[in-house]
């Protein structure tokens, strides 16, 4: 299991987190490669945090936000998409494939969609293989 891939999922506290807790209730499987971080809004995940995730050794990063017309804060998903586009440009310079970073949106009841998206994303990242970045090497 030494070369197992690592996927990080940032879940917005509202709809995506509700989907995530629902996954437990429905006993929908969660892929073992996924580590979840709950954030107050998908728009809160800025370029620096995304880069930090890759620096620390994530092979793929998924941001799960609410549907664009359903955001508690108004502009969360739009800001998230803007941040992702900004990060794509940096990943391109770094030589990392943009497929390693993805945004998905959810309504509160879509646990099965979140589950299948996570599985699909893990499969895609496994296809791409490990990121060329050596993960956490100590210093912060």
């Amino acid at each position: 299991m030494k070369h197992k891939i690592k996927v990080l999922a940032f879940l917005c506290n509202w709809a995506p987190w509700s989907c995530y807790t629902g996954m437990g209730d429905l006993e929908v499987p969660i892929p073992g490669e996924v580590n979840v971080i709950r954030v107050m809004c998908a728009g809160r995940v800025n370029t620096a945090l995304l880069l930090k995730a890759f620096e620390k050794g994530a092979d793929g990063v998924l941001i799960a936000g609410c549907r664009i017309d359903n955001c508690q804060n108004g502009t969360g998903p739009e800001v998230a998409l803007k941040n992702i586009d900004h990060t794509y440009e940096i990943l391109n310079l770094l030589g990392l494939k943009k497929e390693r970073l993805q945004f998905k949106y959810y309504l509160a009841h879509e646990s099965e969609k979140l589950s299948s998206d996570l599985h699909e994303f893990v499969e895609r990242i496994a296809g791409l293989g490990k990121s060329p970045i050596v993960g956490d090497q100590g210093n912060a």
Partner: protein
């Protein structure tokens, strides 16, 4: 200070803190203290000697210091305050704590990622087709962080890669077709000054190997921090470091002195003010060469401000450590001084000065009265 703390004792010895005479010239020279912050290098020094580095004053001090080196230059006892701060930051990070970084630490993340051996970057997409470069050769043009800056600071609408384009144009004019690496790794200046010693050592090793793999013997750069790092730091970290580092100003100066007419200059009727960079003004004596170069451009009127050359003040933040109220005050002071000279153009020699000053210019509307350009670009404009 606990006597058993050998590491702290070593830091104090190495930076010469015991030689501090408590004269206060450091505080008088400090750009941060000048903006009104209760900020005193000598007080921090004596607190570290007395109580170690767990003191809250010291902890705030080490992340607020600009490491610009203005105090180092003034200290009559030769205390190296900047190095002192850098080493204390290293101790802080080694203890597992996170530093205080601007832009969420993104720039330092990029540098750490570049220390991965397997990474294959695509950073020379900006190269115009008319620029001639080679894939192997003795001379390398080291681009530095410029392509990343332009993407990361997109909102500032700055084009720092123009510095690289203009440098390469000048090098081609001098019949030099340098190597430009698609997978160039950062010089690590900021990791070094932000205290990430292990990260810097890893990056320096990879960076050196990448350069050596292309048969390079000499590095030419247009960035003061890259120059400083290659000249001063790499040889200390890599015992077998054997590359020569030259600033592009030195190269242009040599060419002009040798009567080479490939660099004929045309008239540039402009009034400009020059902003020195910390690493050139305090650490290297290239700032004189650069004034000499600008002085050779016909009809270019250079108006200096009080804070120039050895009196240069920092652009407000360095090594991506902290940027706050006092950084802004320093920037506003520098911009107001420049506008008071009546110049239309502020000429910088470090891309970071450009980024930080442009940010404040945009925020406070100075951009309507003042433009900003790198020395290399100004020189390239003056080429016939």
């Amino acid at each position: 200070m606990p006597n058993s703390d050998k590491m702290l004792t070593a830091i104090i010895k190495e930076s010469g803190i015991y030689q501090c005479l408590d004269c206060g010239k450091c505080t008088a020279a400090c750009p941060i203290a000048e903006t009104g912050k209760a900020f005193s290098p000598r007080l921090a020094a004596s607190k570290v000697i007395e109580n170690g580095d767990n003191d809250p004053y010291v902890q705030e001090f080490i992340w607020a210091c600009l490491t610009c080196g203005r105090c180092d230059g003034r200290c009559p006892s030769g205390v190296k305050f900047s190095d002192f701060v850098r080493m204390l930051r290293g101790r802080w990070i080694d203890s597992g704590k996170s530093g205080i970084y601007s832009h969420g630490g993104a720039m330092l993340s990029l540098m750490r990622m570049m220390s991965s051996p397997g990474i294959r970057q695509n950073r020379v997409g900006f190269l115009p087709p008319e620029i001639k470069t080679q894939s192997r050769g003795k001379v390398l043009y080291f681009v530095g962080c410029l392509p990343y800056f332009d993407v990361f600071f997109k909102n500032l609408d700055l084009h720092t890669v123009q510095i690289a384009k203009d440098s390469l144009k000048i090098l081609n004019r001098c019949d030099i077709e340098p190597v430009v690496l698609d997978n160039e790794r950062c010089c690590g200046h900021d990791l070094f000054w932000a205290g990430d010693q292990k990260g810097f050592a890893r990056l320096a090793k990879e960076s050196y190997e990448e350069i050596k793999d292309h048969g390079v013997e000499e590095i030419i750069t247009s960035c003061p921090e890259c120059l400083y790092t290659f000249k001063e730091i790499f040889p200390k970290v890599l015992p077998n470091f054997d590359l020569r580092a030259t600033h592009i100003y030195e190269l242009i100066d040599k060419r002009l002195n040798s009567g080479n007419n490939s660099l004929n200059l045309k008239s540039l009727p402009l009034q400009v003010t020059f902003k020195d960079s910390c690493r050139l003004s305090h650490y290297r004596d290239v700032s004189q060469i650069l004034r000499k170069l600008l002085g050779q451009i016909p009809h270019l009127d250079i108006k200096e401000t009080p804070d120039s050359e050895i009196g240069n003040i920092c652009c407000g933040t360095s090594a991506w450590v902290g940027c706050g109220e006092h950084s802004k005050k320093i920037q506003i002071k520098r911009l107001k001084e420049t506008i008071a000279t009546g110049s239309q153009l502020l000429v910088t020699s470090c891309p970071k000065c450009m980024i930080h000053l442009q940010c404040t210019m945009n925020d406070f509307g100075y951009n309507e009265r003042l433009g900003i350009k790198d020395v290399v670009s100004l020189f390239a404009d003056a080429l016939e």
